[in-house]
Symmetry: C2
C-alpha cells in the first residue's frame, strides 16, 4: 500500500504520514522506485496514533503505544510505558478540568453581577 492509500484509509493526509516518519514515529519501507510501502500493521499503528491524538495526546506521548504494538502486543496500551502515559494524562486532565471549572465559576459570577447590578448591593433583597 502506498502513502496515499494509507492516508485515505486512516482518514488523514500524506503530509501527516511524512511528518510522522520524519519524527521517527512511523518509518516506512521503500519500493524499488523509492515510494513508501505500508502494510496493514502500519495502518494499525497509524490508527493508534490518531486515536490518541484525538484524545489530545501529544505526538511524543503516542510513541510508547506505537512501540508497544510494534513489539508484538495486540494492544498499544499493554505495556507499562503506555500505562504511565495514561496515568499522567489522567492527572493532567484532572488538573486542567479543575482549573477550567474554577474559571467557569469566576466568569459565571462576573456575568451575573454585570447582568444584574442589583446583586452588587449585597443581596439584602433576599
Amino acid at each position: 500500500m502506498r502513502i496515499g492509500e494509507l492516508a485515505e484509509r486512516a482518514g488523514t493526509t500524506t503530509r501527516t504520514l511524512r511528518y510522522y516518519e520524519a519524527r521517527g514515529l512511523l518509518p516506512a519501507r521503500r519500493d524499488a522506485n523509492g515510494y513508501r510501502d505500508y502494510d496493514e500493521r502500519d495502518l494499525k499503528l497509524l490508527r493508534q496514533i490518531r486515536t490518541l491524538q484525538d484524545f489530545g495526546f501529544d505526538l511524543e506521548e503516542t510513541r510508547p503505544f506505537v512501540e508497544c504494538l510494534r513489539a508484538g502486543h495486540p494492544e498499544g496500551d499493554a505495556c507499562p510505558a503506555s500505562l504511565a502515559v495514561y496515568r499522567r494524562k489522567l492527572d493532567e486532565l484532572d488538573a486542567l478540568i479543575g482549573e477550567l471549572q474554577a474559571v467557569r465559576a469566576q466568569i459565571g459570577v462576573r456575568l451575573a453581577l454585570a447582568e444584574d447590578p442589583k446583586c452588587e448591593l449585597g443581596g439584602q433583597q433576599w
Copy 2:
C-alpha cells in the same frame, strides 16, 4: 509613567506592552523624545487585559472590555459586547469541559482494562 514602570507595576514585560500596542489594544501617548507615556488609566486597562488573559481569553476577546473601560465605564464588563464575550466563553468552557471529561472517562476505562486484564473476560467474576 514610562513603559518599564508600567510593565513592572502590572507584572508583565515591556515587550508585552509593545505587542499590545502593535495590536492596537493599548496605544500609548508619546513624550517629546518619543518615549511612550502611560497613566493610571492605562494601568487599569492593562490589568483588565491581564486578568482576562489569565482566565484564558484570547487577546482579541479582551478588546471589548478595554474599549468599555476607555468609554468611561468603571468596569470593563459593563457593556453588552463584554457580556457577549462572557457568554460565549461560558459556552466554550462548558463544551470544552464536557469533552475533557468524556476523554478522561475513556482513558480511565482503558487504563482499568489494561491494568487488570481479568476485566476483559466479561465481569463474570462479580
